[in-house]
Amino acid sequence: MRRRRRLALGVLAVTAMLTTSACANVGLEPAPAAPEGFIDEIRMPSEAGGSVQGLLNYNWLSPNATVQTWLFEPLMIRDRFTCEAVPWLATGYTWEGPDRFVLTLREGVEWSDGEPFTADDVVYTFLAGKEYPAADKAGLWGDFFGAPAESVTALDEHTVVFEFAGAAIPKTDAILQTTKILPEHIYADQGDPTLFVDEIGVGTGPFTPESYNGRRLVLERNENYWNADEVRVQRLSLEGQFDANSGALKLRSGALDLYRGDIPNPNRSVVAPDPENAHFFYPPDATTVLALNTERPVLDDPAFREAFAYALDRDALSQRASFGIMEPASQTMLLLPFQEQAVPEQWRGKEFIPYDPDRANEMLDAAGYARNADGQRVDADGRPLSFVFSVQAGWMDVIAMADVISRNAADVGVQVRMVTTDPNAIEGMQKAGDFDMTVDFVSGGCQRARDLGAKLQSSQISSDQELLLNRARYVNPEIDALIDEWTNTTDESRTAEIEGRIMDVFMTEFPYIALQYAPSRLIYRTNNAVGWPSDDNPYPVDQLIRLSHELRPPGEADADGED
């Protein structure tokens, strides 16, 4: 008996020794100190799409690019809040007529291998999309939103001209920020660029690859970057993919400086334990809306839809779905308060639909949906109003929204039943128009003809094959004509006029009911770096590369006066 006990003790001791010696950071050497005024290292999760990370490929055209943000750069970045185009590889653009687009490139930019960046690289990148359609991420050569391109040519080293078969203004942002420019001197010899496995990663970006061990990618500041003075991060390390639980834990323990996943209630799980250093900024990125299938009876009645919009308690919804972090959204579908200046005069102060069940009840009475003996609203044939709300299984925030909405609906005598299904099945239902209500998003971008107009355009009603933008299946020939005109005009006053008319449709006909804003998430720590976007210094980060120019070592930003 005694011998056995001693054996057990021995085992325990060995285990204890093993556990303490197998320390958590085998082989870790701390990042070497960066020069004064620089940040040593910023740690982020891996940007690769897949979890098998030994498969190195810097080619951004790959669905599993090892880096998506920091090596290759777009031409310009559209600031979602101000709608300005921020110069990047290009310093400016003009539409010389609706079918001719001229781009001026930045001078003095070099690829990280020392070759000069010229108009040829831009021309190569866009022409590759003509020859190999899979490389055409901007949809330049197709006829979706604007006429297809006919030619892309270099006027000189720093000027590129795009000629289109017709008006193509809606393609602006796709050219400017969807496409990232590839080095012609490396990619041109490789044939189809989507098949090219790029293991070197020569780019124009603020960082270049330093080391990769199949899991941890370390990027190093590019000394010869065109805006090197603004980049104060010496090293970026990207490693691992974390679900929300692990992401929150990593962030709390200080093992990550940035996490962008959906951590439920970040206030409590990340900020509360360390309010000094842990913060989050969830700027609005789009509007989460309730899409009503306007092809279905009763839902095809604008009076009903409007009444329904007043029946919804958006504050309660925001509390339940996002712990009150995301604000109730404007029915104009603009991102407020950032895009305030774009709200048409007549809707100022009225753009948020209040929660007013009494008013909703009055409107429903007026529209002829009387209550029966059981208190249910009935249609003209006396059948109780009952709708199915199709919800993506596992999307907790959407389920919470649907729950609030169905209770609000019950309060005004309308039955809304939540049915949860596989997210992909919901897409199938949206394609086929086989739903009453679903949750949808309206993009808060600045190309409003496309971001707002397309939500109402009848040519954007999905077919069985393609999932298009008009999920409410709204049809109005007058609006179709206006949107067509809008997409192709460069006349600013006419643009504003049409934009106002489109917002009238959202504000008075309610094919989509605005619920709350959808965030672009950013949860970060300020021990190693400051200058992250915040309420005091908001800037959109749908293009994460902006961070590289904004981050500063702690203690410096205050002195810097923030640029």
């Binding site: 556990t19 303490t20 197998a22 958590a24 950071n25 085998v26 082989g27 870790l28 799409g49 897949g50 979890s51 098998v52 990370q53 030994g54 498969l55 490929n57 790959s62 669905p63 599993n64 359609p133 899979a134 055409d136 991420k137 901007a138 949809g139 197709g142 939103f145 796709a174 989507t194 098949l195 090219f196 496995v197 061990n213 199949g214 899991r215 941890r216 490693e239 691992g240 993919q241 974390f242 679900d243 639980n245 692990s246 834990l249 990593k250 709390r252 323990s253 093992a255 990125d285 789009a286 596989d422 997210p423 992909n424 099945a425 897409e427 199938g428 998003f441 393609e466 999932l467 672009s520």
Partner: protein, 328 residues
């Protein structure tokens, strides 16, 4: 002899059925791989049909004719070509699996083998000492733990050992070392594998414990055991040589079946620990509708399970004289 012919026939037939189902089932799921991929690139919200069309061209899959696709699939299989992964385009499926498989083979393979040994021993001992305090603890404990979610156990282990105590790394298969047969890298891999292995070791033996205990309790009630006891056979001989040996048969079959997890891995546990094995890969392939990858993994799983069972079938007559006699 007919026994072996029949078993081989069954094996081939199931294999064909499995291969065909493997083709059909992924396609019955809703969702278009190209749309899912674009959504992953752009985040939720809007997807641009132009981009979807571009990705479709890139992946080069045809949605139009299922029969043509089936024939292509069989032809590809026959030539040993597993296709190109959608998620890891342009890397071929074989290479993707080749990256993930070793991790799972070692992690899950070792824990599965250990679980089997540990589980059968504990189960046998519990049955031998049935109705003792040990038996009660083991049986109730296993049933209790078995009903907990392994993810939940994993999260607790992660929280305690990685974040609170900081003894082990929280995620990944390795950290800062360069892969290779160096002591440093091996220590790195071991320290990363410890927590997922621990999680698996909490849950995986339970099935073996319970099935071993229950069969053995039954066997212990048989007349020949009582006869053996009456004849004065040594306890150990009786327990291990007769009761445990005969109770082991169904547990061995269970073990053969459980080998399927070698390919599928444990999706949830690998996700919790960000472990780069087959489980994560399988989860990813499914959510991305990565047909070539999904099919290759499922196929390998099926082949492993079928083959393991086939081998067990072939070995059965050797272990169990009754099977031999019945077939003669």
């Amino acid at each position: 002899m007919t026994y072996y012919v029949r078993k081989t026939g069954y094996f081939l037939l199931t294999l064909w059925a499995a291969v065909t189902l493997n083709f059909i089932i992924p396609r019955l799921q809703p969702g278009d791989p190209a749309e899912i991929m674009v959504r992953q690139l752009n985040g939720q919200g809007e997807i641009d049909p132009a981009q979807v069309a571009a990705v479709k061209t890139m992946l080069g899959y045809s949605t139009d004719n299922v029969f043509v696709a089936y024939i292509d699939y069989l032809r590809q299989l026959a030539s040993g070509d597993l296709g190109t992964s959608f998620t890891y385009f342009p890397y071929p499926v074989a290479e993707v699996i080749g990256q993930a498989l070793p991790w799972t083979l070692v992690l899950v393979g070792l824990t599965q083998l250990l679980s089997f040994v540990l589980g059968t021993l504990l189960g046998a001992f519990a049955a031998w000492r049935r109705n003792s305090r040990f038996d009660a603890t083991i049986s109730v404990g296993s049933t209790f733990v078995g009903n907990l979610q392994s993810v939940w156990i994993g999260l607790i282990i992660l929280f305690v050992f990685a974040y609170t105590l900081g003894w082990f790394p929280a995620s990944g298969g390795y950290g800062y070392t360069t892969p290779g047969l160096t002591p440093l890298h091996i220590a790195d891999v071991v320290s990363h594998g410890f927590l997922p292995a621990l999680t698996l070791m909490v849950t995986a033996p339970i099935g073996f414990i319970l099935s071993m205990r229950n069969t053995m309790v039954q066997v212990l009630g048989e007349d020949y055991i009582r006869l053996g006891a009456a004849a004065g056979l040594r306890q150990r001989t009786l327990a291990l040589g007769y009761a445990a040996r005969n109770a082991l048969l169904p547990v061995v079959t269970g073990f053969a079946l459980s080998l399927g997890v070698l390919m599928g891995g444990s999706i949830l546990i690998e996700t919790v620990f960000d472990y780069p094995g087959m489980g994560r890969l399988m989860g990813e392939a499914t959510s991305n509708r990565d047909f070539p990858l999904m099919q290759a993994i499922l196929l390998a799983t099926i082949v492993i399970v079928l083959t393991a069972n086939f081998i067990v079938d072939l070995l059965y007559p050797l272990i169990d004289p009754r099977a031999r006699r019945a077939k003669a």
